[in-house]
């Protein structure tokens, strides 16, 4: 018993080392991201808004215009470096996979954003122009890019912070999309 007491500090040390080792390796593998925050919007209706369309500023877009399809809502801006990285993959999702993507052009200049879409291709069904970031605040956006998944009722089901690529799509988005499609098809789901 007395012997055991002698080893207590060592045992405590080993436990702490193990804990840190597991956490660091989980961060390294991408299993756990300490920066990631659960969105307050998950399982809630997408916030109401009324903002102009980036492509045609005379047209106002509202929350009901987003309802009806399982869709991605992608927050982007021309000042955001990761959005450049992500853009090619969004084009692929829209054209090859037929995913509905709505854009939120976040705290950006309309002319720059329009030029960007003309040059890089436009994966978005349409873009909501949010120069002040008001809608961004209501969505709980902390920076660009961020991607939200909404179901056919217009409820936010998932939020992802950072650029999407094939790996992330397969790991995080695909299971959610499959689940939402199943929900939509289920009786009473419409």
């Amino acid at each position: 018993m007395q012997r055991l007491k002698l080893f207590l500090p060592l045992i405590a040390f080993v436990v702490v080392v193990l804990f840190f080792y597991i956490m660091v390796s989980r961060i390294g593998d991408g299993d756990y991201n300490p920066q990631e925050l659960p969105s307050a919007l998950v399982n809630k209706s997408f916030p109401a808004f009324s903002l102009s369309k980036l492509e045609e500023p005379s047209i106002q877009i509202e929350q009901k215009d987003l309802v009806g399809n399982i869709a991605l809502i992608n927050v982007w801006a021309t000042w955001c470096p990761s959005c450049h990285v992500e853009h090619g993959y969004l084009n692929y999702l829209a054209t090859e996979k037929g995913i509905t993507i709505y854009g939120v052009n976040y705290k950006d200049k309309a002319s720059l954003a329009q030029q960007w879409l003309a040059e890089k291709g436009n994966p978005y069904r349409f873009n909501i122009f949010d120069p002040q970031g008001r809608l961004g605040l209501d969505m709980g956006v902390t920076g660009a890019p961020e991607t939200y998944v909404i179901d056919h009722r217009g409820f936010v089901r998932m939020r992802f912070q950072g650029p999407i690529d094939e790996t992330i799509w397969q790991e995080k988005f695909q299971p959610m999309m499959d689940q939402l499609r199943a929900e939509q098809k289920a009786p009473g789901g419409a």
Binding site: P34, L41, L137, G140, G143
Partner: protein
Amino acid sequence: MKYGLILLCLLSPLCVAVVETYNFENEVNRERYHQFIDELRCPKCQNQNLDGSNAPIAKDLRRELHRLLEDGQTDAQIVEYMVGRYGEFVLYRPRFNAETAVLWLAPAIFLVLGFVLIFMVFKRQKPSASTQGNSAELDADEQRRLRALLTDKDQPNA
């Protein structure tokens, strides 16, 4: 001079000045504003409050906070607004609920555990201390053994 430099090094991280200035209807709102930016956490740079952060989102939230205060919203409404958008995470003083119960109760639990531990240690020491205390004086048999030991200096003790 040297001490002045050291003092400067120590103080400089404390004066992260926020650039924008706001006008307030009254002093109470100003106080509340400073209280809020002190206790609300920046959702982007996670270990800073709104006061200390230069992130664009922190700036937006300060502007929004100013608007809400001047709108005459109550503290509870403002907290609700922030939590509704950014989750419980933004509160440096989290509200008590099932999720934060551990946070709030842990210090009290550890304090109680500490007292229990102290109590147990003392309780275990007492009986042994009392038996040894009474035998401080050696009885006749022990006196004899002691004398034998002292005279037998050459013998290695067993």
